[in-house]
Amino acid sequence: MYLKTLHLRQFRNYRDQQVEFFAPKTILLGDNAQGKSNLLEAAELLATLRSHRATRDRELVQEGEAIGQITATLEKDTGLTDLAIALRANGRRTVALNGETLRRQLDFLGVMNAVQFSSLDLDLVRGGPGQRRSWLDALLTQLEPVYAYILQQYNHVLRQRNAFLKQQRKDGDRPVPVSFVDEAVPAVELLAESAGSEAIPPDATQLAIWDAQLAAIGSRVIRRRARVIERLAPIAQFWHQAISDNKELLEVNYAPNVGLEQDDPAVVQQAFLAKIQQRAIAEHYQGTSLVGPHRDEVEFTINQTPARQYGSQGQQRTLVLSLKLAELKLIESVVGEAPLLLLDDVLAELDLNRQNKLLETIQDRFQTLITTTHLGSFDAQWLKSSQILTVEAGKIRPS
């Protein structure tokens, strides 16, 4: 797929800027704080309806304005599509395809695909499990847009169930000894057992329903996450091996909170409910849900050593690059068209070997938008088949 035009109006520091892309690679050149990442962020929003840096739409709308707009023309095998997002400082965003406003935002997802790669992505390896979960979720959303709906439902049920548990704990009015606030303390179970029937929450009927809802929707999350990792892992392994000259074996392993013995909805739900039973007392005392995919982890090991704690800087960089290359390939094979690649500040950080591996992969097949402060910081090969644009104070001009 190819992004032909992008028009930003009152978006971040862009007042009214039209950009036309006409080469496989576009280099956005400019000093700090001029709007390079803002442009990439617009592309990210078109692909995922999410921004990895903004938490609220208000931040995306130009300061002092009520509404900001991103419009674009995308060329796919099937023809041209016009995409439009209207962001509001106060109020809900609206999205449109080919001039028609969509009732469900879900229908906007999956039209454009992009893989984002910035220097922040090292946090994928170094950061907490939450970061790996959001990465996985963003990828899944692009592969099967309905996942966005499933995840939102899951989070909704989770919030309701947490509110319920909290409220039950309050109603129960049982003091919780500080030492029991920690999870996985068998003593809690022992104590509760001795407390006998008193430990049974007053509204067992409602709790059982929230359990069932969480398990039903949670299983869908788990199975999809397992499936995507299963497909991604071998591709990432291949790239990591290639970049490390066959010296390193990368393993990407999904470690779900609820074990996945079999890819069968009924089996997963049963396992989910069984684990909830196991942790019931602890959940009751802590007043929060301790079981489910909101506690999933993705483990990266290099030569059987956890990359998070023991990986060198170089290994971690190779790992992240391999993951990104795997994302590109996976999206391409699932969607049937090459996604865009958005490289934010990251190219200069890669050594020549890694730069070349990346270049070999994308060739002219993946439209790539690259931000940089200096052209000299990466290999001259990148300049071939590149369009260079200068970004200055929210204005873009050919250089």
Binding site: Q167, T205, A212
Partner: protein
């Protein structure tokens, strides 16, 4: 505004009503053996528009939602259980939107009523949390017709 203040709730089904017992509850020609349970009075109005349904109603006055501090005690659930257990009700139809809260409420009410009568739920073809209120008459009529036993 003036008119609204005068409107209270039916003491039987909790539908909006100026009288202590609403028109639907006091109508002699309606089916006394069937109760349709809805979240809100607006749902009664929507279902009445279909002209398909001839039974009685019960308005819960909301949906179970712990986030908003709404539990079964805040809804007219006890009154419903009393109605069903004390009268010879042949069927209770749960016509509640399939949102997360709607699903929980449906299952909750269903569990309480099952010992007393047959409990069915309407078939919702509307994906992703469709609202009764916004469904057109044909869709609603079809949903009623295609109701199935709650499992």
């Amino acid at each position: 505004m003036e008119a609204k203040q005068q409107v209270g709730f039916c003491s039987v089904c909790f539908h909006l009503s100026a009288e202590p017992v609403c028109e639907i509850c006091s109508a002699p020609n309606r089916d006394h053996n069937t109760i349709c349970v809805v979240a809100d009075s607006r749902d009664v109005i929507a279902l009445e528009r279909t002209r398909e349904y001839k039974g009685k109603y019960h308005v819960l006055g909301g949906l179970i939602s712990p986030i908003d501090g709404i539990g079964p005690d805040q809804l007219h659930i006890t009154q419903l259980v009393r109605r069903v257990s004390q009268q010879s009700i042949k069927e209770v139809i749960l016509a509640i939107s399939p949102s997360v809260e709607g699903e929980t409420t449906t299952l909750y009410v269903g569990q309480l009523l099952k010992p007393f009568t047959r409990v069915t739920r309407i078939a919702f073809g509307l994906p992703m949390g469709g609202d009764l209120e916004y469904a057109d008459e044909v869709t609603l009529a079809r949903a009623l017709e295609g109701r199935r036993d709650l499992d």
